[in-house]
């Protein structure tokens, strides 16, 4: 049976994994390959690295971590953050990433998804969507959630898949950082519409939130950052809990 995937997400700045909420000063914490390896040994099924390095020049240096991670880690990993062109995507894939995640650039230039998918295959093109519920509508935001695009999130999800995205990451801005559980109604709406894997992001606070998500949705992967970084949830414990609830998960030996 296909397993549900547990996906820790790591923010990388200038080649180092950083943590801290958006409103706090970022603190240098760890080496991406070291932390990636630790998560991989604890049973993570996949890793996502977001490069949040500000300038384009600095980003090229920062991305050297991708090669180091590829050397060390034997599970799939995705790299995102600031990828705007086919060359940017090629660069990250050539460094050894298995997938790339595209967010704002796809909104500005939907053709990027199409071209990248044709060139590298849908399986390695992940469309990441920041969604905020405004009144009764789900709206796409861009630039790290700062700009309201006015685009309907459900339509954008469908369009993204038509363009060639092989996977969607749905980040609920209303739930992000609240630690009150995932946005189950939104995720159910998305999984009903598309026939590619959907990854839930935003809202994980405890293991029960993952169990609730698994029982209420067909979502394929569960992405979280802080609960793993701060050791509030240990991946091995989370997976054991899911297994006891009859959710198919891979238990690493």
């Amino acid at each position: 049976m296909l397993a549900r995937r547990i996906i820790p997400c790591l923010d990388v700045k200038d080649g180092r994994v950083v943590k801290g909420s958006q409103f706090q000063a970022l603190k240098d914490v760890d080496d991406p390959k070291k932390l990636g390896k630790r998560y991989s040994l604890e049973g993570a099924d996949e890793l996502v690295f977001y490069d949040i390095t500000a300038s384009h020049e600095a980003r090229e240096i920062s991305l050297q971590f991708v090669e180091e991670v590829a050397e060390e880690i034997n599970i799939p990993f995705c790299v995102g953050g600031g990828l705007k062109t086919l060359d940017d995507i090629a660069n990250v894939l050539n460094k050894g990433a298995d997938k790339v995640s595209i967010n704002s650039a796809a909104i500005d230039n939907p053709d990027l998804i199409k071209k990248a998918s044709q060139k590298y295959g849908a399986q390695c093109i992940v469309l990441s969507i920041d969604v905020k519920q405004v009144d009764d509508a789900y709206i796409v935001f861009k630039n790290g959630g700062r700009i309201n695009t006015g685009i309907d999130a459900l339509e954008w999800a469908q369009k993204g898949v038509e363009l060639g995205a092989g996977e969607l990451v749905i980040n609920s801005m209303n739930h992000d950082g609240m630690k009150q559980g995932f946005d189950i109604p939104l995720l159910n709406k998305i999984t009903e519409l598309v026939n590619v894997p959907v990854i839930a992001s935003g809202g994980a606070g405890n293991t029960q939130h993952f169990v609730d998500l698994a029982k209420a949705t067909d979502v394929d992967g569960y992405l979280a950052a802080s609960v793993f970084h701060y050791n509030e949830i240990k991946i091995s414990y989370l997976k054991e809990t899911l297994r006891q609830n009859n959710i198919p998960v891979r238990i690493e030996r």
Partner: protein, 200 residues
């Protein structure tokens, strides 16, 4: 010496790093002399069957790979490389494969999401040394939209995704893995370790 056949497909670096982690030294090469001397030949591959087969034929190495197999030496196909071991594929028309294992590569025409992407379990079908260090129901990482339709005789392990998909196939000294052992955590490493022991 072991050789990863270099025919310009995308994931050669990834397989090379995976083999290194499993303690297998393998040179990435399209040099006929290297192919002739290889103990284990690894055939990688991602993308479409037709393009990959054309690229492989273009290298002129196919007769040498045939010799390698005839001599009883080990050939290991991974992901699309595994599919190339079969007679033919229906991906973008009808394309002939290497024909070492009888069967046809066809589209996964099922209810579930395609590509079949993620971690799925191995169900053992027959004894084989590749399985020595792993357990039934261990998980490995799959990414594919086509699968090899072949007789149970050629299948070492299946995985279940609406239908039984051949995950590890073999015919004598030719072995194929539909999944990515280099991306399959500890289980993948153990599979490659077993393959390393199958030389000589």
């Amino acid at each position: 010496m072991n050789v990863i056949i270099d025919y310009k497909v995308g994931n050669i670096g990834s397989i090379s790093r995976g083999l290194t982690r499993a303690g297998i030294d393998a040179k990435i090469s399209a040099n006929p002399e290297d192919i002739k001397q290889a103990e284990i030949l690894f055939l990688p591959g991602v993308g479409a069957f037709k393009d990959a087969m054309e690229d492989l034929v273009k290298t002129g190495l196919v007769p040498l790979i045939n010799d390698h197999v005839t001599q009883g030496k080990l050939l290991v196909g991974i992901c699309l490389g595994m599919q190339l071991l079969f007679d033919s594929s229906t991906e973008y028309g009808h394309t002939k494969g290497l024909g070492y294992i009888p069967g046809e590569v066809v589209y996964l025409d099922i209810e579930k999401k395609v590509p079949h992407m993620g971690w799925n379990q191995l169900m053992f079908n027959q004894d084989n040394h590749t399985l020595k260090y792993i357990n039934e129901n261990d998980y490995v990482y799959f990414v594919h939209s086509y699968y090899a339709n072949t007789a149970p005789d050629n299948v070492v392990a299946y995985t279940d995704y609406d239908i039984n998909i051949p995950a590890i196939v073999r015919r004598d000294n030719v072995i194929g893995m539909q999944f990515h052992p280099e991306k399959s955590g500890q289980v993948g490493l153990q599979l490659l370790k077993a393959i390393k022991e199958m030389t000589s």
